[in-house]
């Protein structure tokens, strides 16, 4: 790609910043430079209005009312499912289950599939770069079933050691749980290879897609994974709504994990029968407006174009990596060959929290800490990092503001001459 094309791309994708009302509010008296997209993305007007319009014009409970509004709300909710199916290129609408988010999706698999299928001595294989939400549900499951947790190590760049992975896979391995993109390091994991090898060993694969779906096109059939989880709020959608994709035959064989209304066929005090998938896994009144908002978010990223968003963020990541690395005493944490828009770093002499506060006073919002991935911090021998994470609305000016604020912090801490 020529420099000219890149500049045009950066300009045209980030032009969509005007769709995000919050980006025009000043914070700390400064222009908001929002670089905490790994935690949650901001929401475009299209999503905010879709959710608000649902309450203004379409609100009713779903799957039960005989009245028109209930049918209308049900249609919108199920249209959301269809929209997610297309977004992930799943083969059936029934393979899409709505949850509160990635964490709940993973817990669902652990508690439903896991408790029904795992026994003492079985192995759950995770990777060294998992978020706590893809560790703790499996630890709970292992405690309940006597299964054993195994961990695929990574190298100092934050890349999985695939040879070790192959050695760890064995006949006792029942499921492999892996982040598509690491939230703390930015590493894009080779999910296709991981799935192929796992299936060869007779194990299933769950992919934590929380940090992937907003940054690249995801095709669950091409990945050939068994489960894929993500949250709408990291995809420019609302909080409190997310998705579990599961292969239909697996979901059909799984028992319910939460009981309640909407997930049953019949209830008597001596016995209940359960609804088919996906309703079996959607007990209680779901986040209907959230589904509508998520569908609007999917429409939105598809209208901007995920490939364009990916190229734009790669451009900015390269720029930010070059400029931050050029500062004295900086160490980038996570230097994998394949990365998505996350830049984690530490600076000699400044704790990430002090850096976070000083950047905040410049209007630059980043995340400082362990990013809910404490085992990663332990491996790198640090207590936390500063993390800048990118979205489609970020610009080269945002990167410059980040760099300038870091320079200010270094100068305040007496680490450099006053610029």
């Amino acid at each position: 790609m020529s420099a000219g094309t890149a500049t045009t791309l950066v300009a045209s994708v980030s032009d969509h910043a005007r769709d995000f009302p919050i980006l025009s509010r000043p914070v700390r008296g400064k222009r908001l430079v929002y670089l905490d997209n790994g935690a949650t993305t901001q929401k475009p007007r299209q999503v905010i209005e879709a959710e608000s319009r649902f309450y203004a014009e379409s609100n009713a409970n779903i799957h039960r009312g005989v009245h028109w509004l209930s049918q209308h709300a049900t249609d919108l909710y199920e249209a959301g499912r269809k929209s997610v199916r297309q977004f992930l290129n799943a083969s059936k609408d029934e393979e899409i289950i709505f949850t509160r988010g990635t964490t709940e999706s993973i817990n669902l698999v652990a508690q439903s599939w896991g408790r029904a299928n795992l026994k003492k001595g079985d192995e759950v294989l995770l990777t060294a770069m998992e978020h706590h939400s893809n560790i703790v549900p499996w630890q709970l499951l292992c405690n309940q079933t006597g299964a054993v947790l195994k961990v695929v190590p990574m190298n100092e760049r934050g890349e999985l050691l695939m040879d070790d992975y192959q050695k760890l896979l064995n006949a006792r391995t029942r499921i492999v749980c892996v982040a598509h993109v690491s939230n703390a390091l930015g590493t894009v994991n080779p999910v296709e290879d991981i799935v192929r090898l796992a299936h060869g060993a007779g194990a299933l694969v769950l992919v934590d897609g929380a940090q992937a779906v907003a940054h690249q096109t995801v095709d669950v059939q091409a990945l050939n994974c068994d489960f894929y989880a993500f949250s709408a709020h990291k995809l420019y959608g609302p909080t409190g709504i997310g998705v579990l994709y599961g292969r239909h035959e697996l979901l059909q064989a799984m028992p319910p994990w939460q009981g309640g209304g909407d997930m049953i066929l019949t209830v008597a005090f001596n016995r209940s029968t359960y609804a088919d998938v996906p309703q079996r896994f959607e007990a209680g009144t779901p986040n209907i407006a959230g589904v509508v908002g998520m569908a609007a978010a999917i429409d939105y990223v598809q209208s901007v174009g995920l490939d364009r968003i990916a190229a734009h963020e790669q451009e900015l990541l390269g720029l930010a990596t070059d400029k931050i690395s050029a500062l004295p005493g900086v160490r980038i944490i996570g230097t994998a060959e394949r990365k998505a828009g996350i830049l984690s770093f530490v600076i000699d002499g400044i704790h990430p929290h002090d850096l976070g506060t000083i950047l905040d006073m410049e209007g630059v919002a980043i995340r400082a800490g362990h990013h809910c991935a404490m085992p990663i911090m332990t491996q790198f021998g640090i207590s936390g990092t500063a993390r800048a994470s990118l979205a489609l609305y970020n610009t080269p000016e945002d990167v410059d503001a980040l760099v300038k604020a870091v320079e200010k912090a270094q100068s305040m801490f007496g680490l450099t001459e006053t610029p």
């Binding site: 400044i350 506060t357 006073m361 800490g369 207590s383 007496g414």
Partner: protein, 151 residues
């Protein structure tokens, strides 16, 4: 919460930078009469506070650990402030220090050097950094074996 700009220099005063770079009483202790660990799980700050109390008076205080500038400087300043003070006076200083950082009412006390930490109040998410060492000290004096948390 207001987004009015508090002054960063109120938070990061020179005394704080000095104690961060050169923490005082930063060492373990052979036979402490009291010791406790503190941990701030949100940011990963960890420290251990050691005390030698003789006849109800803090004869020596020290700490080891790692944390941000606010947390390190606060621990360092604390070890200086409590030395030579009777235990009950240390406890009341902890309560007043906590009040200074978390409540709007004024505290009628001369905090001496600890006054430099007053600016932390304008940064609510950082209050835990400044109070971790004090909670740990409190636990040490109370003989609490669980690590102190600021949550």
């Amino acid at each position: 919460m207001s987004d009015m700009q508090p002054d960063l220099r109120e938070l990061y005063q020179e005394v704080i930078f000095d104690h961060n770079r050169h923490p005082r009483n930063y060492h373990g202790m052979e036979r402490p009469s009291h010791a406790a660990q503190g941990h701030n799980p949100l940011c990963g700050d960890e420290l251990t506070v050691y005390l030698r109390v003789e006849d109800g008076v803090v004869a020596e205080a020290s700490f080891v650990g790692q944390g941000c500038a606010i947390s390190t400087a606060s621990a360092s300043l604390m070890t200086e402030a409590v030395r030579g003070k009777p235990v009950d006076e240390v406890e009341s200083l902890f309560q007043d220090f906590h009040t200074m950082l978390t409540e709007s009412r004024p505290v009628n006390r001369d905090f001496g050097k600890l006054q430099v930490l007053a600016g932390v109040k304008e940064f609510p998410v950082r209050v835990k950094c400044a109070t971790l060492a004090w909670h740990t000290l409190h636990n040490a004096l109370q003989g609490v074996s669980e690590p102190a948390k600021t949550e």
